[in-house]
């Protein structure tokens, strides 16, 4: 993670150098420079193992939780990504019921409950957006204009 931050911030630092006005580049250069220094300091501390043992023990619970649930996180993340792709390509009107019914069915919910829940979700979103806010929901790349 720290290496990723270092690389990204290093890129921002050199990119900022090319900006035209000093007013434009001042803050990005200062911020990316400081972040770079801090990231390298943290990286050095982690590599040299200077972290306190107590602190490692304190974060053990969190890291155990994160590693133990990696599969669950990836599965849930895949659902989010799938929902996003559905929205982008098919639009909200298809994506909301499709995602809701598919997810709830695969989690063991009864058909009728999943369908009712999907209709209610879509109805709520429709009322909030089109009649109330006067905003047309996104129709998707495939079905939009």
């Amino acid at each position: 993670m720290l290496i990723a931050i270092t690389v990204i911030v290093l890129f921002i630092f050199f990119y900022s150098l090319q900006l035209s006005s000093w007013k434009t580049k001042l803050l990005p250069l200062i911020l990316s420079g400081v972040i770079l220094l801090l990231a390298l300091t943290e990286l050095r501390l982690e590599l040299l193992g200077k972290k306190k043992v107590k602190a490692d023990q304190a974060s053990e619970v969190e890291s155990t939780e994160s590693t133990g649930n990696v599969k669950g996180y990836l599965t849930a993340g895949a659902w989010v990504l799938g929902f996003l792709l559905c929205i982008v390509f098919l639009g909200f009107f298809i994506a909301i019921p499709l995602f809701t019914i598919a997810y709830m069915r695969l989690q063991g919910t009864k058909w009728w409950l999943a369908v009712i829940f999907a209709i209610c979700s879509l109805g709520l979103m429709y009322v909030l957006s089109e009649p109330l806010a006067g905003i047309e929901l996104y129709r998707g790349i495939l079905f939009g204009e």
């Binding site: 993670m1 931050i5 921002i12 990119y15 900022s16 900006l19 035209s20 006005s21 007013k23 434009t24 803050l27 990005p28 911020l31 990316s32 972040i35 801090l38 990231a39 943290e42 501390l45 972290k51 306190k52 043992v53 107590k54 602190a55 490692d56 304190a58 974060s59 969190e62 939780e65 994160s66 649930n69 599969k71 669950g72 996180y73 849930a76 993340g77 659902w79 989010v80 990504l81 929902f83 996003l84 929205i87 982008v88 909200f92 909301i96 995602f99 809701t100 997810y103 709830m104 989690q107 063991g108 829940f117 979700s121 979103m125 909030l128 957006s129 806010a133 905003i135 929901l137 996104y138």
Partner: protein, 496 residues
């Protein structure tokens, strides 16, 4: 000035006649209690979920909604902590140390009675304390100019980064990354676009709503779904209302403990960045240390419930005050409230008290009133707690995602915002699991544009030595002090 405060107070009271305010206050109570009673959700999710819809509402409707959600979540959370051994929100964790053993001894209703009354009274009294502090703070904020605001922003980020997280360096990196992300798009000072890479969509910068939804709502939904099932597996039977009344009498019998704990919570709330989770534990520790029979703590004694519950809601008064007066959020929830100010077209910071005093006072009053309403509702809900808390993840996960992502689109009618929200959810998940600070990133992002504007105004007016003013120097000293505290904690091994 005193006359102005009284006029604003009158207006704040009259605002309560606004049907819109009352309606959204009640919606907020419902959502806030739902958060507390559904242990896996986490207090920030409903705030992040309603945020995209704030453009539909006036400031007098939208801001009370956010304050209410933030104010009442702890009350529901204490009930699940006592009955089910699962804290509804993080600050309720201290309550289960004695609350659940009481429940196991058949005194669950007594513990709930004590918890609800101390939490409600703690919340109301802390708001009254905040109201008393407003005139004093008004004198201070009127001395703050753009030069000081530069350091106020830096102080806020320092507090959140150094004090709130275990890793000081990661906390500071988070805050500065937030500032850096806020620079994307047209620069207000020169009109030159930065980091847009030729993409028109990025010319206006990254929107606040996708950042908040991505950082707070989606990661919690993913964590909830990854757990698979509802976290509530047990059910506890409660004794009658006699026990509840006994618990309420206990609060009055231990009035000194209640007052002391409430004050601890309030002070913790005033200190920016510490958040609500620490106050109840400090109060619990203080109650145990000062008790004549400390050995009873942890075995199910009512003092162990009163102390943390008096503090958890009292944090609100303190944190709301610093958020309104200085634009420095006292907790993650207040960081989202700061985002709500921006969405409603209000400038966070000292100007809130000088230009929108009536709205600021209204928000404080809303915090007090909703505590009372939520307390009353909770009493009515006592017999049904176990059933309410069992709503499964398979319903909550799609519900949160649908509301959050549709709202993100409605915010600017840009599908790019929805993609950015999902992108930021990866950042949120990484930050959540690797010790980085999401509130610090959000604070940096919210205040970043203002920070740059204040910096260039100050440089233009005062030159390179713009910070040579007494208040600026005092703020610089405070920043150095905060970082020094962080370094000391690092050396002692309390943080990494």
């Amino acid at each position: 000035m005193v006359e102005g405060i009284f006029t604003a107070m009158q207006q704040a009271c009259l605002n309560f006649l606004d049907p819109g305010l009352l309606l959204f206050m009640f919606i907020g109570v419902f959502l806030g209690l739902a958060v507390g009673l559904l242990p896996a959700i986490g207090g920030l999710v409903p705030m992040a979920m309603v945020l995209p819809y704030l453009f539909l509402l006036t400031p007098l409707e939208g801001l009370p909604l956010i304050v209410t959600i933030s104010a009442v979540g702890y009350q529901g959370g204490s009930m699940t902590a006592i009955l089910l051994n699962i804290p509804g929100t993080e600050p309720n964790a201290a309550t289960l140390i004695d609350g659940y053993p009481m429940s196991q001894k058949g005194e669950g209703a007594r513990a709930i009675g004590a918890a609800l009354l101390s939490s409600t009274l703690g919340g109301v009294l802390s708001i009254l304390l905040a109201l008393i502090m407003v005139p004093i703070l008004m004198y201070i904020v009127m001395m703050i100019t753009s030069a000081e605001m530069v350091f106020v922003v830096l102080l806020g980020i320092s507090f959140i980064s150094v004090l709130a997280e275990r890793s000081m360096i990661k906390g500071i990196i988070s805050g500065l990354l937030g500032l850096l992300i806020s620079l994307i798009g047209y620069q207000a000072v020169t009109g030159i676009p930065r980091f847009t890479f030729g993409t028109m969509f990025l010319y206006d910068g990254i929107g606040l709503v996708p950042v908040i939804v991505g950082l707070f709502a989606i990661p919690e939904a993913i964590a909830l779904a990854s757990a698979g099932t509802t976290v509530v597996q047990t059910e506890t039977k409660l004794a009658g209302m006699q026990q509840v009344l006994q618990g309420m009498r206990d609060v009055f019998q231990h009035w000194w403990l209640f007052l002391r704990s409430m004050l601890i919570g309030y002070v913790v709330g005033v200190i920016p960045g510490i958040g609500g989770a620490i106050g109840p534990f400090v109060s619990y520790g203080s109650a145990k240390a000062s008790s004549k029979s400390p050995e009873k703590f942890g075995t199910g004694c009512v003092e162990g419930v009163i102390a943390p519950e008096s503090a958890n809601n009292a944090v609100l008064g303190g944190s709301l005050l610093t958020t309104l007066a200085l634009g420095i959020p006292g907790s993650s929830g207040m960081a989202i409230l700061l985002g709500a100010f921006v969405l409603q077209g209000l400038v966070p910071g000292p100007r809130m008290l000088t230009e929108h005093l009536d709205l600021s006072l209204t928000l404080l009053l809303v915090g007090a009133v909703t505590n009372i309403i939520a307390g009353a509702i909770c009493f009515g809900l006592i017999p049904h707690i176990s059933k309410i808390a069992k709503v499964p993840a398979r319903i909550l996960f799609p519900l949160i995602l649908v509301i959050a992502l549709t709202g993100t689109f409605l915010y600017r009618q840009e599908i790019g915002d929805v993609i950015i929200a999902v992108g930021f959810s990866i950042v949120g998940l990484i930050f959540r699991n690797f010790g980085y600070s999401r509130p610090a990133l959000l604070l940096g992002f919210v205040l970043g544009t203002l920070f740059e504007q204040y910096l260039f105004i100050s440089l233009g007016v005062g030159g390179l030595l713009f910070f040579m003013r007494p208040i600026s120097l005092g703020l610089i000293a405070a920043i150095i002090g905060v970082v020094w505290v962080g370094i000391l904690q690092f050396r002692k091994g309390k943080i990494t």
